[in-house]
């Protein structure tokens, strides 16, 4: 249990969905920056 807790504390994302959302937002930001520049 403590290993799982430690794993969660070391991770930025609570689950795979939030990791996917972060990737979508990150990629969209990159696209916007490239288009603007």
């Amino acid at each position: 249990m403590s290993e799982k807790k430690e794993e969660r504390q070391l991770s930025l994302f609570s689950n795979e969905k939030s990791e996917d959302l972060a990737a979508i937002i990150g990629a969209a930001l990159v696209m916007i920056i490239v288009i603007i520049l």
């Binding site: 070391l10 991770s11 930025l12 994302f13 795979e16 969905k17 990791e19 996917d20 959302l21 972060a22 990737a23 979508i24 990150g26 990629a27 969209a28 990159v30 696209m31 490239v34 288009i35």
Partner: protein, 370 residues
């Protein structure tokens, strides 16, 4: 954003920088207008065997550096949080990779990939579970192994484990087996591909079907044919469609394995219908929608002309190659030989047999029909 989340993001920065520096060492500074070709450039200039025969490029270099660090001095504590973000870089790279395709290409590649992936995936699952039963493995263990060998490695094992009531050791054995097999594939597929004279398209199909882990498909495809911002990697373009097809199948696979598990173990407490409903939405890979949106935007001309590629599209290619290098550095940093040593006994034999057969048969199909 809560305070703890923002402080986690700040804590992740040193690790991200750490991965970027390793990628920079491997790739050099040419993307930033510099002259230095990195370790890849040095190898190409100085070693005919490594550079021209084995075709070692920055992808293999970052993975090897990552593995060396992890298994010698270990990941520094200040970098651990950042290293965990490596999958986000790979996913952002895949979303940007969508700018290589048109909707028509996606439909064409997708239809072939659905057929090949579905055939190999479901036959691998049924075969692995049958072999597990024959050798009297614990049903939960063979179900985890079947998920790993059939779909997309670790994610599939983790997704299936609760539904089949897998024990901790089942999960650990399966992950170690699938990762060990995948690492062998990662290094042997590109060399074999060159020796057999496969075209980039054939290699992409083979890697996307035969390699079990998403990151390893990406690495093998880029190792075979790294491409450039002007001429993008064909094996990556084809392989990634196969890989994404496999990832999208994940919810369906959890359902199939749950049903097979319930039959093989006579476990009446497993409710397949409830599991299907619960897993379909919770396991659907959301980032694939980002990839499809990029394909649609590219097809409608949102980023300018594709032939020849606009400056924006060339910039996307440059950026995703860096995202992939950073992400694959993280992949290397997470490969622990101590973890891999957990693989052994019957699971290792069954997992490797299923994985080897899948790799060999998919190669034969690709050579005969494509």
């Amino acid at each position: 954003m809560s305070e703890s989340t923002s402080s986690k993001w700040i804590k992740a920065l040193p690790g991200v920088l750490f991965m970027f520096i390793i990628a920079l060492l491997a790739m050099g500074t040419k993307s930033f207008g510099g002259e230095w070709g990195g370790i890849e450039g040095w190898i190409k200039a100085n070693s005919n065997f490594l550079g021209k025969v084995l075709k070692i490029n920055h992808v293999i270099i970052v993975i090897i550096i990552g593995m060396l660090i992890r298994n010698t001095i270990g990941i520094p504590s200040w970098a651990q949080m950042g290293v965990k973000t490596s999958r986000v870089f790979i996913k952002m790279g895949v979303i940007l990779l969508g700018s290589l395709y048109s909707l028509a290409e996606l439909a064409k590649l997708g239809s072939t990939s659905i057929f090949l992936i579905a055939t190999f995936m479901f036959s691998t699952i049924v075969f692995t579970m049958w072999l597990g039963k024959k050798y009297k493995m614990h049903p939960g263990s063979s179900a985890c192994l079947a998920a790993g060998a059939g779909v997309c490695g670790v994610s599939a094992i983790v997704a299936v484990a609760p539904a089949v009531k897998a024990r901790g050791e089942d999960i650990a054995y399966s992950i170690a087996t699938i990762l060990s097999f995948g690492i062998v594939c990662l290094f042997t597929f590109p060399v074999l591909g060159h020796l057999l004279g496969l075209t980039p398209e054939q290699f992409g199909m083979w890697a996307g079907t035969g390699i079990l882990n998403s990151g390893q498909v990406l690495a093998a495809a880029l190792a075979f044919d790294p491409g450039t911002p002007e001429v993008p990697s064909i094996s990556l373009k084809v392989g990634e469609i196969y890989n994404l097809t496999r990832v999208v199948f994940l919810p369906l696979v959890v359902l199939l394995i749950t049903i097979l598990y319930a039959r093989m173990s006579d476990d009446k407490t497993v409710d397949s219908a409830a599991t299907a409903k619960k897993t379909f939405f919770s396991k659907f890979p959301l980032f694939v929608l980002g990839f499809i949106a990029t394909v649609a935007l590219t097809s409608f001309g949102a980023f300018g002309p594709t032939e020849p590629a606009s400056a924006d599209l060339v910039a996307f290619r440059e950026i995703y190659s860096w995202f992939f290098s950073i992400g694959l550095t993280g992949l290397g940093l997470q490969i622990s030989f101590a973890e891999m040593r957990k693989a052994g006994g019957t699971p290792l034999i069954i997992g490797s047999t299923a994985g080897f057969l899948k790799a060999a048969l998919s190669l034969i199909v690709v050579l005969l029909f494509f």
